[in-house]
């Protein structure tokens, strides 16, 4: 019985096994490098897209998402948003907001989009929330703590820069003004340095 031999084109038969093995190894390196590089070097992440819109350490009420005002892809238009681009280079930051209804969330993100802290609205819990975001290095290096109210929780940020996002789903058009007013009350202010 004759064995069936796959007849490759002549030019393919010129490719040596060392070439294939070497290419596979380099393909693996390229694959890993590209995957790890995208979050660090990719131009299209949410932080870079919002960077010009958001002044540092200031909560900004974002325009309600519409086909013409949408700032980020896949952002639901049945919600209003406020955001703060934080920069902890000069110290900690106090974040205050109201989380009044189910679906409301206050989330902290790294520039790569990782969500390192989130607080959802919950029934049976007070809706006004306030906490201090501190740089991760501060507790280890700075032995003189900054002036932080004893009432505020402290959230340690793994990054110096990032985003605070407050999302408020709309319950209907009738609640729009009330929801917007609550979002505009949210704040993001640097903690005054200790004297």
């Amino acid at each position: 019985m004759k064995a069936t031999i796959l007849k490759l084109p002549r030019w393919m038969r010129q490719i040596g096994w060392r070439t294939v093995v070497g290419a596979a190894l380099l393909a693996g390196i390229v694959h890993i490098t590209a995957t790890l590089a995208v979050p660090l070097l990719g131009p299209g992440n949410a932080f870079r897209k919002l960077q010009d819109t958001l002044p540092a350490n200031q909560m900004v009420f974002l325009p309600p998402p519409t086909p013409t005002t949408q700032l980020l892809p896949f952002v639901a238009a049945d919600a209003l948003y406020a955001a703060c681009r934080f920069d902890l280079a000069s110290g900690s930051l106090t974040v205050s907001a109201v989380l009044s209804d189910p679906g409301w969330t206050l989330s902290l993100h790294t520039p790569q989009g990782d969500n390192f802290y989130v607080m959802p609205a919950q029934q049976l819990r007070r809706s006004e929330v306030s906490f201090v975001v501190t740089p991760a290095s501060e507790r280890l290096v700075d032995f003189g703590p900054r002036r932080v109210s004893g009432d505020d929780s402290q959230i340690e940020s793994p990054v110096t820069q990032g985003l605070v996002l407050l999302r408020a789903p709309l319950r209907g058009l009738a609640w729009r003004a009330e929801t917007e007013a609550k979002l505009r009350r949210a704040s993001c202010t640097p903690v005054a340095p200790k004297r």
């Binding site: 070439t19 290419a23 596979a24 979050p39 949410a46 949408q70």
Partner: protein, 197 residues
Amino acid sequence: MNIVGSFLINVAAFLVLAIGGGLGTAWYMMDTGSRLSTRTLGPWVTWTTAGRPDADPYTRAHTSRNALLPISSTLELTYVASTDSNGGRLHSACEYAIVMEDPEIAWWGIAAFDGRGNLITNTAERHAFNSETVMREPNGHAVITLARDARAGNWLPIGGGSRITLVLTVQDAAWAAASVERGAPKPLPEIQRVACR
């Protein structure tokens, strides 16, 4: 074939396999994902560690590349569908029905986008429903109709002439915890194609 020709063929094959293969597989894993990073439930796909600081590299690359700001998947899960329950590509030329059965979910939202994540222009200026805004049947279920032209009830306009992507967001810590173990505590809603033009 002379030795120079053989050398050139080997160099070309090496570059194509190494660069093309490396970048192509990386792009696929970031864009579509695999069982390592995503979970598929009918037409719905979720990135299981989205938003978490310990997310796998493919999920982090997917998040960053698509300019997403996901809430940690320990609290909220985002399911994306680009096909109906029979595997057909979602398209604005067709009409779809989705039945939400949600009495135990704390909060959910469903939104329609074009294939690139942009909101779809429509005169009704309606792009999404959530558990607070949707109209319910007497049994508590909500039927959402995706169609180009107006429909009674929960009509979600999907414009004309483009591919559609649906995003279902479920915010419920118990649901999220159960999803890590079993995929989803309850079946996700089916996307039924009603008719096409």
